[in-house]
Symmetry: C2
Amino acid sequence: MANPTIVWTKIDEAPYLATFSLLPIMEAFTKDAGINWELRDISLAGRVIAEFSDMLPENLRQSDELAYLGELVKKPEANVIKLPNISASVPQLKATIKELQSQGYPLPDFPEEPQNAEEEKIRLKYLKCVGSNVNPVLREGNSDRRLAEPVKEYAKMHPHPMKPVEPTSKSYVAHMDKNDFYQNEQSFIAPRNMTVAIEFEGKNGTKKVFKEVELEKGEVFSGTFLNRKTLREFYEKTIQDAKEKDILFSLHVKATMMKVSDPVMFGDAIRVYYKELFDKFGKELEEIGFNPNNGMSDLEAKLAKLPEDKQKAIKETIAEIYKKQPRLYMVDSDNGITNLHRPNDVIIDASIPATIKNGLKGWGPDGEVEDTVITVPDRTYARMYKEIVADIVKNGQFDPTKVGTVQNVGLMAKKAEEYGSHDKTFFPPEDGIIRVVDTENNEVLMEFETEAGDIWRAYTAKEVAIIDWIKLAVERAKESGLPIVFWLDSNRAHDANLIKYVVSELAKYDLSDVEYHIMAPEKAMRYTLRRFRKGLGTISVTGNVLRDYLTDLFPIIEVGTSARTLSIVPLLAGGGLYETGAGGSAPKHVEQFIKEGHLRWDSLGEFLATVESLKLARKQGANEKTEVIADALSKAVGKYLQNDKTPKRKVGQLDNRGSHYYLARYWAEELANCGDAELEAKFKPVAKELVENEEKILGEIAAVEGKPADIEGYYHPNEEKVAKYMRPSETFNKIIDALR
Amino acid sequence: MANPTIVWTKIDEAPYLATFSLLPIMEAFTKDAGINWELRDISLAGRVIAEFSDMLPENLRQSDELAYLGELVKKPEANVIKLPNISASVPQLKATIKELQSQGYPLPDFPEEPQNAEEEKIRLKYLKCVGSNVNPVLREGNSDRRLAEPVKEYAKMHPHPMKPVEPTSKSYVAHMDKNDFYQNEQSFIAPRNMTVAIEFEGKNGTKKVFKEVELEKGEVFSGTFLNRKTLREFYEKTIQDAKEKDILFSLHVKATMMKVSDPVMFGDAIRVYYKELFDKFGKELEEIGFNPNNGMSDLEAKLAKLPEDKQKAIKETIAEIYKKQPRLYMVDSDNGITNLHRPNDVIIDASIPATIKNGLKGWGPDGEVEDTVITVPDRTYARMYKEIVADIVKNGQFDPTKVGTVQNVGLMAKKAEEYGSHDKTFFPPEDGIIRVVDTENNEVLMEFETEAGDIWRAYTAKEVAIIDWIKLAVERAKESGLPIVFWLDSNRAHDANLIKYVVSELAKYDLSDVEYHIMAPEKAMRYTLRRFRKGLGTISVTGNVLRDYLTDLFPIIEVGTSARTLSIVPLLAGGGLYETGAGGSAPKHVEQFIKEGHLRWDSLGEFLATVESLKLARKQGANEKTEVIADALSKAVGKYLQNDKTPKRKVGQLDNRGSHYYLARYWAEELANCGDAELEAKFKPVAKELVENEEKILGEIAAVEGKPADIEGYYHPNEEKVAKYMRPSETFNKIIDALR
């Protein structure tokens, strides 16, 4: 068997910079395991270059390594450590293009408004680099997320602050009680490979086929819609209630991910909250092309198109609205940025945990913290948030030194569920019926009576993904000894079909040592929280949306951040994908690094991912030393945390590079006493050297701090310079490079 | 093997009378099967006599045959046809005592207010004969209910009237949206045989143990409560909404069955609807001991205790209330009997189907039909009614000639679920905590924060019952080829535990030919109705309450009555219990019979039960002719229905006795061509004789009609006289008796 290869991804911003220091250490310490390391470029700049390589001179070309990895993850030999990359917005894309052009890349500008077919083609190519385009390609498996033991231990000894909650808190979660996605869902399991057409027939005779969708045998296909009129009535009522209770109004959706449906739900909140504005200036707002789905920032940007007196009148009306309506939850009260400013500003899976950490309070317009109504329109997932918020009001704030842990096994493979719904989301142009029809025999499989503008969407889960997900849940239960809870709602047509799979799949396992439950999210939350408050662990086994929500919610409560979560994607084909840094690629860290040469990125996620990746490499043919090396790394991480060698925020304090020194040192110390004679003999002197040179190495690192690090670029810096800045200690480099 | 015995029960009122004509026919036609028939007395009068036999002279004594049957149903040889008996009220009990006393039975009077220990003892003995005391003793199994094929066929050809529903109907189901039984439920599965204590600790220090409960290993124990304050706020809001929508207000509970909790929920509706009355006359109402839980009839009965001017003032206030509040749904608008008159007048499982049949309308105070709000406070079961009502508004009234069928497999054995909660229902005397504690180690298993007066209840389902129920569902699916739907809500803690059993039990069967689903009641209703409207059949697999509700709901929609439902209780020990006549024991039929000698009771249920009972007898050792005889009876029933030989309502038309003639004739005709030479030889002449004597026999029956039938009693008539009246045709008797 050939040596297995671990792929390390080259990405963007802070974790990209850290890679230049860390990857050599990884290579050095795993030399004896018989592993190849490969760096594959899926950075935003790299993808732009690859996409346009046919237009570039030969020396500037790059192959499409995302496509390469997309193929790799379908093979059993895949073993990929995927660091956090940018989910680029168009402005970020444009900045990247500009930077590359300045570096001599003859790239076309981004065509904002394409004038011909050629420009349209260019625009589409660029748009392939925008948004969440990496994860769907790589995530060829379900999700296994949890906090590694040393991380959890560290948090218990160094708890993050959680603001107390008063039992008189008026904060609560508001949701619709009818005509939402939750209520209107229908679902079926495809009895064979088939093609279904999503058709529309309007009351006024409009007929059209929205889309045809190929389904595999056993695929769960579900459709539902949310009635916009009911949504707006719900907003009206909730805004009224916030006013009466004299608390903030806040809306929590996920427009970044649910990018077709959620901006519309966001826009409706604006249409209701600022109703008076639309009543008075509807014509003018339409003229300037204000789209509430883009937030009040869109109005701000377009307001200048109107004559000054109109602008003034509009601003006055808005000021009056703020007097009459409940105060808004602020994203940035210093700068007057409200919850309704931009749809991407308030991302439910981050914003609700933040509100919880903040004692169930948000910031009001005057910069004071206040109770708030937490508006989550659709009941499908709102009710589990309602449950935890009510639990906190009743039982008080969570104590990170005492709570248990909640791990997750998430159904994610093959664009499962709502997160795969973007291309199957439609807005009926008039009142009418949406039908899902079997194209083979024209049988109507589903029928929905919708009104003009309603949000209709379909989503699916493939049999192979579901079966793997259940298998993963059982494996995790057996490995951990923790109970698994399938968060499935028998009142949802979609979940009722998943329950059928759970029933038939669970029958295939010996469950004598497994405690399992099937509970709807609300009940599952209640069950889980009872254990959580007693310090016990529970594994949530959920669909794709709850995977996303819960793997932020609980890690943030437990350890203050979800960035430290171990995120494993056991690939369907047998390989493994190890994702790190759910907290993002940290642009602020880069700014600080460029300004004052201090990189505060913590590579903890990469350390933990490497432990898991090495374990897989062993299964893939790496030699038996691999286990010893992985185990030593895990212990080193424990020491790293216990001795608090994580990077600190300020220049002059320990930074990312210094933290890597400690990681390497502890790892060497562990290997010097690992029981494997060869490794011990090799690493004893290394450990000694590292300990003895502590002051010198840290001094060499400190020497480059406090001044700008000119890396000649942000999205596509000069890598020689990056390497120079990221490996400033000759002493440390010498020790490491001797091992490589 | 000894000849198997079929037990026929002697009960009360119309089916009791019919027995005197029918049982001889059953004995005569099954003579060759090698079966014994036994009549066992579980009538109200019979039970009173048995209970007090130690006080009676020897010749009047009777043994306790209900106790005998209670033992029998636990044995594999049980084969019992159980006809509908009286669920006696205290007034009915008193009438029975009076009648027996008049017949020379030296029974004590019923002590209304016992003055000493002796009277208390007598009272308790009498109370053993009151209410639903027979079914819990006999139902040592789960429930299998469905419409027999001939009944369904008949209904399609002779559909009962269903009033059309306008799409503008304002009728809807209103339910609570928080703090109800549904929300507050907790549940666990007993890990071993154990004793739990239900304890209360009040905020003011009151401590008491409500009860200790023995649990078997594997028993699902669940507890929940409903907050009374929230209930009353809900009533307030719903009454207001009925007023605004200008429709009737109606409340639907089941005080007859849920006899501890539901009267209190009923009383709260009175407290809210008539609030002004309590505000003005609270003191007076308390003085006279008016208990709203007993309905406004209780006030009517006690009002005379007040001075006349007070009475007048109270009546005037009530009249004013009726002007201000929404109009009430009337039970009997001619006599001014409202929905709130008596808690037992509106029984949800009958009243909602009646409203559906009536085009989603009820009768208002002026005798006009009107739309109505259908108030069902607790969400646990309200939402499935809400679903069907909304479906009817949307899709129109059901057409009995086109709809499919909905059968039921119900979890009923061993007092399953809420229907076994009476002795575990408590009302916290003050605000405080109810705990369920493991008495072995004092571990707190559940904790509920209740307020004074809240309704708390616990209920259980035993493992043996649950496992048998799942087995029965799978068997029924295989027998019928219909899909089975487990109506289980993963959002209920109790149901989540049942789902666990379903998961582990289903794994034990080959389900390749079984379509099954697990859906919450609301969704299950939607799924079922889609099939139902397409003419397809579905089996609902439900808990005990839904068993009760659905086996009225669908038969009433399908065939106009639930009395024609085949109701089988496959006993846990292997025997069978065949219940007939879910429609009750028909007091009005007896009144008509006594007045004008016409008995309009239809023995169809008994015919169908006998077919099933014979099939079981065959398995219990009856000879192979049994199958032929049963099959012939089944075909005879088909003819009976197709030729419309059911009893008619008016004197001079075909009555119960005449209908038995036709049953016997068709049965004989079938046996005359059954393929068994011996039986054919025997029944050919019988059939011929019956056909030839049709006019004569019907004439002999008609001769005794149109005049009173003096049977010298209602609860305990003179049986010689009954037999004489019920077998008036010498010609028919001769033919039948020759076969016995």
